[in-house]
């Protein structure tokens, strides 16, 4: 089937999509957007987090057919040209990235948190990022990055 979906503001089409594919697979393998990561593919880790119609979801559990006609924003769509989004910049500055596999999902989840709650408490940060697992950093630097991004914006 043909899938029509608006990705990062641009209408895109993917052909020969098998309805059983996940949205994550379509983004990575058919639309050339490997930012969103495929780690667990089971909703457990959050590394595949993207905005779907403006709310963050685990794209690994969205059947491609369900994305038809909808808006998707991936980590690739957060920066404006060469200017990183404050959340991205803070992840770089705080050293909140080691292997980087969890990072795109965390960046999208943190971006969403700061849109809804510009000055989150530590507890709010922890709860908002509970669905994003990182096996490298121990989370402290990630919390630092989100606090810095909140101060910067």
């Amino acid at each position: 089937m043909r899938l029509n979906v608006t990705v990062n503001g641009r209408p895109r089409q993917a052909d020969d999509v098998w309805p059983g594919e996940s949205l994550l697979y379509v983004l990575r393998e058919r639309l050339g957007l490997p930012g969103s990561k495929n780690a667990c593919e089971q909703g457990e880790c959050g590394s595949c987090t993207v905005y779907l119609d403006d709310v963050p979801v685990c794209s690994c559990l969205v059947a491609a057919g369900q994305a038809e006609g909808r808006q998707v924003r991936t980590v690739e769509g957060l920066a404006e040209g060469d200017r990183l989004d404050p959340v991205q910049q803070s992840f770089v500055d705080a050293g909140a990235v080691q292997c980087g596999f969890c990072t795109p999902g965390l960046v999208v989840a943190a971006h969403d948190l700061l849109r809804r709650t510009p000055r989150p408490s530590d507890e709010e940060i922890r709860e908002a990022l509970a669905g994003n697992l990182c096996r490298c950093t121990g989370y402290e630097k990630i919390l630092d990055a989100v606090r810095t991004a909140a101060d910067a914006s």
């Binding site: 089971q42 369900q66 669905g131």
Partner: protein, 333 residues
């Protein structure tokens, strides 16, 4: 995953007919359970009928004061609904205690109720499991069963139902509205407490629904006492974990005694467990810890824990006591 077709339903009638007419078809809500199971090989539908674009996506007032929650309402939207937060806090708390933000944004009311057990053997197609393949045996009875049932289990299955939402709805006397292949243009109403079943001889059936039965909505009764209600979930991590034990409760004091009370337990049985024995023991009694404890013990008297989940019995008792104490002002909420 085996190949399958995908169809988007425009109205309930077409959706029901499409699934009812094909034994291999399934409704698709947010997909957070079904798509996962398809990847694992636990579910192998050959047709998915997407019901998320049916017009069941709002929360509406009912005549008489209740609320009708459309089956397609997302868990995150329901938890954020102001009427739910103020009039049925137990429901908002239960929803927010489940899964993660990214999953609640996808998960629907109908799909949440019909999610399947998280028993590890059920999800692992290489191990025997009576729920997945009846007659094969139950790997959990003698295996890993820390999370499993202490009430109402059978020799055939000791799994628990994982939904937090369902526990809150059971305590609230909610009613599930269903439209099935034999209901014509009408719908039937099933009390939330009777939607899920105990495993008995047929653990393959989670609920009383048949193939092609579509959940269209869940009705909340007015229940003014629910304004004083809460959900407490005990788990291995502070967030993002299934319940070891959970308690949904609402209490109404009449003068110095408990006038009315609702208690449901999660994480203890194959269905949300309405604690009717505890409720009966508490009506008309003073709200103190000794009474709460006696009522909890009455409810749990028939508990039959497994080798590695004995801790759930005192855990359930203590959680009931502390939730009731919190609700009746014995301790800060």
């Amino acid at each position: 995953m085996i190949p399958f077709d995908y169809r988007r339903a425009g109205d309930a009638e077409t959706a029901v007919a499409a699934v009812a007419g094909n034994p291999g078809a399934a409704f698709l809500g947010g997909g957070t359970n079904l798509v996962d199971h398809m990847k694992l090989g636990v579910a192998e539908p050959d047709l998915l009928v997407d019901v998320t674009r049916l017009p069941f996506d709002s929360v509406d007032p009912l005549p008489g004061g209740g609320l009708r929650i459309g089956a397609g309402v997302r868990n995150s939207d329901l938890a954020a609904d102001e009427r739910v937060r103020t009039r049925y806090p137990v429901l908002a708390e239960a929803l927010l205690s489940g899964a993660s933000g990214q999953l609640r944004n996808l998960a629907t009311t109908g799909g949440n109720l019909l999610q399947r057990t998280r028993c590890g053997y059920f999800q692992d197609v290489t191990t025997p499991c009576n729920k997945r393949r009846p007659g094969e045996g139950c790997s959990a009875r003698e295996g890993y069963h820390r999370y499993h049932a202490i009430l109402g289990a059978s020799p055939h299955c000791v799994a628990v139902h994982p939904s937090d939402l369902a526990v809150a709805l059971t305590a609230l006397d909610a009613v599930v509205r269903v439209r099935g292949p034999r209901d014509g243009h009408g719908e039937r109403a099933i009390p939330a407490a009777e939607l899920h079943r105990l495993p008995g001889e047929h653990p393959e059936w989670d609920t009383v629904l048949g193939h092609g039965d579509l959940i269209t909505a869940v009705d909340l009764p007015p229940l003014p006492m629910a304004a004083r209600s809460r959900y407490r979930k005990v788990r291995d991590r502070a967030s993002y974990a299934f319940a070891l034990v959970s308690v949904a409760a609402a209490v109404e004091l009449t003068g110095d005694v408990i006038g009315d009370v609702r208690i449901a337990l999660g994480g203890v049985a194959h269905k949300p467990w309405r604690a009717t024995l505890a409720e009966a023991a508490l009506r008309g009694r003073p709200p103190d810890r000794a009474e709460f404890r006696a009522a909890a013990e009455a409810e749990l008297a028939d508990a039959q824990p497994l080798r590695d989940n004995r801790f759930k019995v005192p855990m359930a008792r203590n959680t009931i006591v502390s939730v009731l104490a919190g609700l009746t002002g014995e301790e800060p909420r």
